[in-house]
């Protein structure tokens, strides 16, 4: 009896237990991700990735298994699924030590909020606060 309700205790692995809940970002069902589809050109490389919804399901599985930090990380991953590749790498660089001012980190947090990535935005703001305390901001003496 298939149901849309997802049970993180019993529905893992999604690929074998609940394939009908999984699709590509364009909405292609998991079962159609096949060599035939690739031959026919209906499956494209940038569509072969997990959706935010799938990553949230995985986060729920991790949380149900008692792995809170992993679940948090997968929730951030779900948020970041929609963030463009270049932006992702720019934010990573901005978070490295001595790269950003508080204002710049706040700017990235706002951008993340705009993508709907609220948890990750909060994570970046938390980093900014820690960097202030530990002297890990860009040396802005000259500016």
């Amino acid at each position: 009896m298939a149901s849309d309700a997802f049970d993180p205790q019993t529905d893992y692995p999604l690929g074998s237990r609940r394939p009908e809940l999984v699709s590509t970002p364009s909405g292609m069902p998991l079962d159609e991700v096949t060599l035939d589809a690739a031959r026919a050109g209906s499956l494209t490389a940038d569509d072969v990735r997990a959706t935010p919804q799938t990553l949230r399901h995985q986060a729920a599985v991790a949380r149900a298994a008692g792995r809170g930090p992993l679940a948090d990380n997968l929730e951030r991953a779900a948020e970041l699924a929609a963030v463009p590749d270049d932006e992702l790498l720019e934010i990573y660089t901005a978070l490295r030590p001595g790269r950003s001012s508080v204002a710049e980190l706040d700017g990235w947090a706002a951008r993340l909020d705009a993508h709907g990535a609220r948890e990750t935005a909060a994570f970046v703001r938390e980093a900014a606060a820690a960097y202030v305390e530990r002297g890990l901001l860009r040396d802005t003496a000259e500016s």
């Binding site: 690929g15 799938t54 990380n73 991953a77 980093a127 960097y131």
Partner: protein, 746 residues
Amino acid sequence: MTGENGRFVSRAAKELRREMLVSPAPELGLVAANGPNDPEPELVIESGVVTRMDGRAAADFDVIDRFVVAHGLDLEIARGAMQLPDETIARMLVDVDVPRADLVRLARGLTPAKLARVAGMLDPVELMFALKKLRARRAPANQAHVTNLKESPALLAADAAEAAARGFAELETTVGVARYAPLNAIALLVGSQTGRPGVMTQCAVEERRNLELAINGLVTYAETLSVYGTEPVFVDGDDTPWSKSFLGAAYASRGVKVRFTSGTGSEALMGCAQGMSMLYLEARCVAVVRAAGSQGVQNGSISCVALVLSLPGGSRAILAENVIAAWLDLEVASGNDAIASHSAIRKTAKLMGQFLPGTDFVTSGYSVMPRHDNTFGGGNYDADDLDEWLTIQRDWQVDGGIEPVAEGEVTRIRAKAARAIQAVFEVLGLPPVTDAEVEAATSGYDSNDMPDRDRATDVEAADDALARKVSGLDVALALDSRGFTDVAEAIVGMQRQRVCADYLQTSAVIDRDGLVRSAVNDPNAYLGPGTGYRLEGERWELLQALPHVVDATRLGTAPDGRVAPLAEAREAARGGDPAEVVIAVGPAFGDEIRETIAGLDHGDVVAAIVDGVRDAGGVPRIVRVRRVADVAFIAHDGAQLSGSGVALGIQSKGTAVIHRADLQPLDNLELFGMSPLYSLESYRAMGRNAAGYALGQRVGPVPTELDNFARTKLIVRTTLLHARETHAVEADAPAVDLELRAAPVS
């Protein structure tokens, strides 16, 4: 005085002594565990806020403390857990009745200092037991390194295929020249899926490039995210816990399984251990790894292993850090990849700590190619050590994650992978892989056997492949167009795995049917004998059947169709000639068994003894003793029949003894027990001596050599030959006279 005692001089020249051992220097971080400056475990919570941890007030928390407090520590559990005495927790770790789930829950509330303190209380066997209990996934597995100095795509693909066929669950490559990354990643992907569908791959390169490879579906995991146990070293590594954690989420968002990397010794090596022990700093690392939301860690000192092993308790500390990581519910790829020692004895002694309990990945990279092609600078165990690894698995009945595969199958799979990558390069317009490369990659030893490629053209093509965003799907379609449909299907299968993302859960590997097995659906539930993962059944059959195993029932059988060298004449009676020397052979001699353990034909052996007897003036007579197989009794029975009272008894395996009728059966005149070393000349000398005793001459013992390995080498053959001799015994049969046929038929 040194350098004078011969034995000291000899030992000082051994490989082991290339390594330096040092006394601890805690102020430099050169102390393996339980350092004198390590803080007392401490956690103060006021109004739901942590105000002190492990010797520091909140205002002084560095980035590691802050991050662990914010994202790692479960304060609700901590309230109770931190109150428990160290000894109580240590006992729980080795209590077979305390399940993993309870320990893992407890760890969420323990500070790094407490984790290090408790793990530091366990001795090596206790640590191994704790690790066996705490491993996240039910069954252990292993990871391979696949690289070569020439960055030859055919050789990479062939090695990846062999590694996959041998059961490695993950394959890691890297680059000598960074720009090669996409080509190496493609070769690894094609090779791995040729060897076994479902094997995960990674290409260890700089993060941006790595992420690009992942986005294009060319790799499925990453373990390049390093963390360190002190703030200055963390920052020197150009990261913070937040940047690394963010990167982990970024990888996961692109469907990449992420494992962080840490290990004892790195802080001391980088000059800022802040006076703390290596184990305490590593506890801080893995606390960060868990807090950052990584499913796992590669730890166990990794590249600093030789530094940790320079200190007292180094091996134990490395095992303890694996235990702490597993205790924190992390997947553990437990090191054993970087060369730990020049000494094979020492590095294998160290390996046992992870090998016997089994970890999620027993090594973080077993070099499937010869060591000199390992561009990780590692290769603790490599292609030339494979039989040893497989034999040790068989010895201990332990699954170290590597399967024996026969040469024919290895050749087939390597050839297929090399041809597959040849096809992919051609279809995708990459610089051609020649037939000569395919051939050399299939059966060569290492990259020295590979034809040189135009490397300038290769790196340009690699840049172009990245710019064109050559993807996993492109690779699959290229393979499909050239008839490698099964490999193409496997690569599409890996793309499907990226879509459902099941392998992002803790300790995930993918089996050959495409089913993800992780700590969620295939957890370690060890609770003592008879439970958990045990190497039994089909898997045990597989791991014991090494290609060079000999069928015990077929060893030493008589070759078909050869005429026996000795013919039975009549029942033997006592002889009357005082010069007579009986040559008494065993029940199977020259019959069911035709040669000695040294490979000498029985006919030739008897002829040599006969020569020797005659040489010294004796009269030889050949007799078969049928009632016993023991050489002393064969000779003693012979002596009873001998006109002189002297006989030379010989067993089929070649062991001989000279006996005299008046001696006790287990006494003798001369015993020749080193049968593997005897030549026909030795047997001639034995014949001369036997005649010498018979005629009352002065006799010097037959000179014999000593080979201390003879028993090791030949004990199995000895056992089987003796079993055949024993089988040929007829309890009440009298001895019979034999005649030596004129010349051995050959």
